[in-house]
Symmetry: C2
Subunit: 207 residues, 2 copies
Amino acid sequence: MEQEYASTLLENTVTQLSRLPGIGRKTALRLALHILRQDENMGVDLGQSIINLRKGIRYCESCHNISETDICPICSNPNRDTSVVCVVESVKDVMSFENTGQFSGVYHVLGGVISPMDGIGPDSIEIQSLVDRVKRGGVEEVILALSATMEGETTNFYIYRQLGGLDVKITQLARGVSVGNEIEYTDEITLGRSLLNRTLFSESFNR
Amino acid sequence: MEQEYASTLLENTVTQLSRLPGIGRKTALRLALHILRQDENMGVDLGQSIINLRKGIRYCESCHNISETDICPICSNPNRDTSVVCVVESVKDVMSFENTGQFSGVYHVLGGVISPMDGIGPDSIEIQSLVDRVKRGGVEEVILALSATMEGETTNFYIYRQLGGLDVKITQLARGVSVGNEIEYTDEITLGRSLLNRTLFSESFNR
């Protein structure tokens, strides 16, 4: 049913907010009315921050991560090892790996995984730029860090083949039982992989 | 855990978005990254619409509904019957009643209901302005259209007492079985009220 809005300003905001994922017109209306109940500053700051974000963010020319400069802070950091490139699906995954504090290499953000069902082929994502990057030299290891899903595995395999003739080590994330998970609820494929790739118990002390 | 954001612009937007109700930092990040993936126009329009909303909206001096002018379009509409005032809790409720297409009177938006648990007393909401409005004359009927909750009933009763000595008819919404509901799942109090206030079956033909 078409809602009767008291104001075109309100209707416009509701329309804009409801374009966001997971936000329907009812939620958008609730958010807009919330903004109206707050200090004027809150609404203005929110609106301005979104404009600044959209206008100020570009993509790193090297790794395709979001950045405010041509080359992102990770790629331009002299303390990062540019010979190790971690291939991830999205900007969010870069944040996840950065939060582990375990990685001192650099990234390559694909911007998606191959998914024919969604019309995403190899050319829709940043695979060619990865190949070019490796061909330019200086990369010793490519870590495939995509999701352990059908699409992720397909993309892993496609990249593996594209990099086939080049002198680079290609690794992937370990598959195994997630920390905190019970064996009872872990699927058989994961259990099988975790058995095959078992590690020395004594090595876990040093981590 | 503190997230490492790739950019202060992104972090700022996430912080602002996560001030909205029902949106945590994870959802805010998802929304911000979505905005980045869209056309630049989409983000800029969204931001600008929120700023315009917050700067352009004020409250109607007569009914306290949101408005872009001193007096809202409903109050200034010559076809509306200003002698019938429907008292509602919120701006959203005005929209709900407008959507029924059944009401040609005007509104009075309280901006809440009396709720001592939440620190909302009679002076926190627009009750005195309602009393003043009735005292100025011209109002023949006040329809109490608040929620059928403890707080709503309390507020109804408080308003009823405040308007006690004035020459005005005070009515409230009918209580009864909701349209589409089954008797089996309707509570006893509602069933009791619906029996007491039963209406002529023949009257339902004309609605």
